[in-house]
Amino acid sequence: MPEIARTDESPRATGTAAPARRVEREGAHLAGLIWTLVRTDFKTRYHGTIGGFLWALLKPVTMFFVLYAVFSFVFASNPAYKLNLIIGLFLYEFFGEATKTGLLSLRAKGFLLTKARFPRWVLVVTSSSNAVITLALFSAAFVFVLLVQGHALRPATVALYAWYQVQYLGIVTGFSLAASVLFMRFRDLNQIWEVVIHAGFFVAPIIYPLDILPERLHIYLYLWPPTPVMMFSRAVLVDGAIPSLAAHVYLAAETLVIVGVGMLVYRLASARIAEYV
């Protein structure tokens, strides 16, 4: 077995640069790379649409108010269901969009992979930026409407909602890390994932209340990552209830497992991705 070793004694800065200066420079470089990828993704996505950037910002808020108006009419007798449905739809939309762009991220930016050596995981992590912006705007609009309606939102429940979304983003990122490198080798993964996303829409309790199913099935539904995030988000925002400690531990553990597996798969499979461009 031949020896395989690559030693990088000074990958970025000049050989005489002090370590602190090198770290500072690499940090600035990484921050610049992340910001540029987020900015150019945003610009690319909304280029050519009416209203451009303004529309990009207005779209999720507009969608929210359209759904809110329609559901207020259709489900007038059940306001809690209306709010739960809107939360479910938006959170699942985020999951579907972010995981699909994450899966495609390395191939979509394949032209950069053969240009230079740089932290390629940045391409994956930043791929969900548009979906995150949409989710943030939706969340702001939703909280605003709840406050206008007189819901007694407490800072703690809003903070918990934000924490669930951070974990949701972790789940999406973990999935994207693994899926993006595998997609370089298996080019139909996006089609398979598309089917899973469609099927998963009915696994997650978006259009039906979880209570209509036997309790013994709940655990299986909770294995589908959007389910706990959705249920806990509804609990804190709509019901004003804080899920149990065990529920929080479960979500944190699920997030850690997905992030861990994603990082592991990425680490094992990413070294040769430039050869698949």
Binding site: P2, E3, I4, A5, R6, T7, D8, E9, S10, P11, R12, A13, T14, G15, R25, A28, H29, A31, G32, L33, W35, T36, L37, R39, T40, K43, T44, H47, G110, F111, L112, L113, T114, K115, A116, R117, F118, R185, F186, R187, D188, L189, I192, A271, R272, A274, E275, Y276, V277
Partner: protein
């Protein structure tokens, strides 16, 4: 005592497995799980060893398919080697395949940011250098034009201009002087000479013997994935010409991959 080399390549090997039938989807892998799939192993680099010393300009010559592009990607860290050791003691800026690969929906300035960041420039450095990059490429008038409307020559000039601005201690160039019109090539050569004068270490790949003789002190000749000559640039350029005129069959076939 000789100075420590900035890059040491020791017994580096690289091979690609070329299957008779490519399976690129989950469906193909599942359906053909038990079907034998013969494959051929292409040894693109075979125990390649050399050193790049601080401040020198090293040439690399070889026929198409000899493994030059793969070697550059392995040195740069874009491809991992299958065997051997690469020691890098300085930052490397590669100028490889720069004519292709832009975001066609973005204008030149945004693409400069994208490529510049990937090549190691900070946003501050890019802000300060954007005008200079556009001027070097001769594209000031098209700064706000989306790359989809650029010709391949314009896109290449822009890429080289970014890369020349992003230079770290070691610069690796693949056929740099074959891009653009005479004016642009002259600017590239002037910049190249300025980098040499400033003490940068350079690795230059070219098929042009006079380019290697003019710019390099020492050169390597890569043939069939092996370094068959490591000598004075003029001697290597002559040997390369002899190889072309008297040479046997094609080389191993490393270039063009990826």
């Amino acid at each position: 005592m000789p100075a420590t080399p900035l890059i040491e390549v020791r017994n580096v090997s690289k091979r690609f497995r070329i299957p008779s039938v490519r399976r690129e989807t989950v469906r193909e892998h599942v359906l053909d799980l038990f079907r034998p799939r013969p494959s051929e192993t292409l040894q693109v680099l075979d125990s390649v060893s050399f050193e790049l010393r601080r401040g020198e300009t090293l040439g690399l010559m070889g026929r198409n398919g000899g493994g030059k592009s793969t070697l550059l990607k392995v040195i740069t860290g874009i491809y991992p080697p299958d065997g051997g050791t690469i020691v890098r003691r300085a930052g490397i800026t590669p100028i490889l395949e720069l004519g292709v690969g832009w975001n066609p929906d973005l204008d030149a300035i945004d693409n400069i940011d994208l490529l510049g960041c990937v090549m190691g420039l900070s946003l501050g450095e890019l802000r300060a250098a954007t005008d200079e990059i556009l001027e070097f490429a001769g594209l000031e008038r098209f700064a706000k034009l989306e790359l989809r409307y650029y010709s391949s020559g314009m896109a290449s000039r822009l890429a080289y201009a970014v890369a020349f601005r992003a230079v770290r201690e070691v610069l690796i160039l693949d056929e740099i002087f074959a891009v653009g019109d005479a004016g642009f090539r002259e600017r590239c050569q002037d910049r190249f000479q300025a980098l040499r004068a400033a003490g940068h270490t350079l690795l230059l790949v070219s098929h042009e013997p006079h380019t290697i003789e003019r710019f390099c002190e020492r050169a390597l000749l890569l043939e069939g994935g092996r370094i068959v000559m490591d000598d004075d640039a003029g001697a290597v350029a002559d040997a390369y010409m002899r190889l072309l005129t008297e040479g046997a069959g094609p080389a191993a076939g490393g270039e063009g991959h990826a």
